[in-house]
C-alpha cells in the first residue's frame, strides 16, 4: 500500500493549468484564459488523438481520422474556451470524450454523403451503446444550449467531478490502490515497491480496475 514517506510522484500539469484558467475566467481575463487553455490543449492532444483512434476504429479511414482530430481540436480551441464551465479535469476530459464522439459522427456522415454510401458502416454510432456516455453527452449538450442556467452547469460539474470520488471507493482496496497510484503518475517500479507485488499483479489489477470503472460509468446515477 502507499506510504507517506515515499518520494513525490512525477505529477502532470493539467490540474494546475486548469486552475489558472478558471482564475482567469473568473476575472474575465481573456488573454490569460487563452494562455492556459492553450497549455491544456497541448497537454491533452494525445488524449484527443487516442480517443479519436478508438472511437473511429473501423468506421473512418486514416485521412478521416486525421480530419476528426483536427476538427475536435478546433472545436476545443474555438468553442470550448468559452462554453466550458467546469472546474475539474474530470469534467474537461468528459467534455473531450463527448466532443470526440460528436466529431467522429459528423466526419463519418460527411464521408458517407460524399461517397454515397447507402448503408451505415459497421457498429453504427446511432446505437446507444454506452448509457453512461450518452448521459454525459446529454448533460453537456444541455449546458451548451442553456448556458445561462446555473442548474445545467451544475449537472455537468457534478458528472465530471464526482465520478471518480463516487466510483473509486467501490473498487476493492487493491484495485483502488492501483488506480490511485496510476492517476498520480507513480512509475510501475515504484508501485511494485510500495505494494509489495510483481509487475504482473499490477498489470492484471489495472485491467480489472478499468473494466470495473467502465461498468461503474454506466451505473453512475444521473
Amino acid at each position: 500500500m502507499a506510504t507517506g514517506t515515499d518520494p513525490s510522484p512525477v505529477s502532470s500539469n493539467d490540474g494546475e493549468y486548469l486552475r489558472r484558467f478558471i482564475v482567469a475566467r473568473a476575472a474575465g481575463n481573456d488573454e490569460e484564459m487563452a494562455v492556459w487553455w492553450e497549455a491544456l490543449l497541448t497537454d491533452n492532444f494525445d488524449r484527443v488523438r487516442g480517443m479519436v483512434a478508438i472511437e473511429a476504429r473501423g468506421r473512418l479511414s486514416g485521412d478521416e481520422q486525421q480530419e476528426a482530430v483536427q476538427r475536435a481540436l478546433i472545436k476545443l480551441a474555438r468553442n470550448m474556451v468559452h462554453t466550458f464551465r467546469g472546474s475539474s479535469m474530470g469534467e474537461l476530459v468528459g467534455a473531450m470524450r463527448t466532443l470526440v464522439k460528436g466529431v467522429c459522427i459528423d466526419v463519418q456522415r460527411e464521408a458517407a454523403r460524399v461517397s454515397r454510401r447507402e448503408t451505415p458502416l459497421e457498429g453504427g454510432w446511432d446505437d446507444a451503446d454506452d448509457a453512461g456516455h450518452e448521459r454525459h453527452a446529454a448533460a453537456i449538450t444541455r449546458a451548451r444550449e442553456d448556458a445561462p442556467e446555473e442548474e445545467d452547469d451544475d449537472d455537468v460539474l457534478r458528472l465530471g467531478r464526482d465520478f471518480l470520488d463516487w466510483a473509486t471507493p467501490r473498487l476493492s482496496p487493491r484495485l483502488r490502490s492501483v488506480i490511485e497510484l496510476d492517476r498520480q503518475g507513480i512509475p510501475v517500479e515504484e508501485m511494485m515497491r510500495r505494494m509489495g507485488v510483481s509487475r504482473d499483479v499490477i498489470y492484471a489489477a489495472r485491467s480489472r480496475a478499468l473494466r470495473e470503472l467502465a461498468k461503474l460509468m454506466e451505473e453512475y446515477p444521473s
Binding site: V10, S11, S12, N13, D14, G15, A27, G28, D30, M33, A34, W37, E38, L41, T42, D43, N44, F45, R47, G50, M51, A53, I54, E55, R57, Q66, V69, Q70, L73, I74, A77, R78, N79, V81, H82, T83, M89, G90, V93, G94, R97, A147, P148, L164, I179, D182, R183, Q184, G185, I186, P187, R199, I202, Y203, R206, S207, L210, R211, L213, A214
Partner: protein, 213 residues
C-alpha cells in the same frame, strides 16, 4: 496474465512516462477478436488518466504538430473579447459594417432600420455597448452571417467577480444585511424616482435587451 493485461499495462506505463504511446499501434498488436475489449479499456484509461508529465522537448514537439498549431491559431482569435471577435470575423469575411448591418436588418425583417443597425454595430465593435446585453438571437444571427458556430459568438454572461463579491458580502452580513446594502437600496430608490426610459423597439432589444430578448 493475458495479452490484453500485458499490453494495457505497457500502454499505461508509457503514457505515464510521457512516451506518447500510439493507440492504433497498440490495438494492432491484439488479435481481432479481442480488439473491442482492449479498445474499451484504453478508452476508460483515457477518460480517467491525468495528462502525462511531458518534458519541455516533448511539449514542443506536440505544439509543433500542424493540428495543434491550427487549433492554437483559432484559439487566439476565439479568446478575444466578443466585440473584437466580431470585428475580426467581419474583416475575414470581407464585409463592411454597412454590409453586415444590411444582412442583420434583413435577417430580422428590419430593412428600414439599416442605418440604426449600422450605428449599433459601430458602437458594438467600438466597445461602447455592454456585450452581456446582446440578445442570443442577434449573436446567433451574427455567427451565421460570419460563418462560425453559434458558440463562437455566444453572448458573455452578466457575471463578474464584482457581482459575486457583492453577493458574498450579503451572505456574510449574518442578520444585519441592512448596513451592507444601504447604498444599493438608496441607489434603487433614486432610480425609482426617475422617469421610465422610452420603450425599446425590436432593434433596441436585439442590442440592449439582454440574452433572452
Amino acid at each position: 496474465m493475458t495479452q490484453i493485461e500485458q499490453l494495457l499495462g505497457e500502454f499505461i506505463d508509457a503514457w505515464k512516462g510521457g512516451e506518447r504511446p500510439d493507440v492504433e499501434a497498440y490495438l494492432q498488436r491484439v488479435p481481432e477478436a479481442e480488439r473491442d475489449a482492449f479498445a474499451e479499456q484504453l478508452m476508460t484509461w483515457l477518460s480517467v488518466a491525468p495528462a502525462p508529465a511531458y518534458d519541455d522537448a516533448t511539449r514542443e514537439r506536440i505544439a509543433a504538430d500542424p493540428a495543434v498549431r491550427a487549433a492554437v491559431a483559432e484559439l487566439g482569435a476565439a479568446a478575444q473579447p466578443l466585440p473584437a471577435r466580431i470585428h475580426a470575423l467581419r474583416e475575414r469575411a470581407g464585409l463592411s459594417i454597412a454590409d453586415l448591418a444590411r444582412a442583420v436588418a434583413e435577417a430580422f425583417g428590419l430593412s428600414a432600420q439599416e442605418a440604426r443597425t449600422t450605428g449599433y454595430l459601430e458602437r458594438l465593435e467600438g466597445g461602447e455597448l455592454d456585450a452581456t446585453r446582446l440578445s442570443r438571437r442577434l449573436c446567433a444571427a451574427l455567427a451565421g452571417l460570419l460563418g462560425v458556430d453559434a458558440d463562437a459568438l455566444a453572448p458573455p454572461r452578466a457575471w463578474s467577480p464584482a457581482t459575486a463579491g457583492a453577493a458574498q458580502a450579503l451572505w456574510r452580513a449574518d442578520g444585519q444585511p441592512a448596513a451592507g446594502v444601504a447604498d444599493a437600496l438608496e441607489a434603487l430608490s433614486q432610480a425609482a424616482m426617475e422617469p421610465a426610459p422610452p420603450p425599446m423597439d425590436e432593434l433596441d432589444r436585439l442590442f440592449l435587451g439582454g440574452p433572452d430578448a
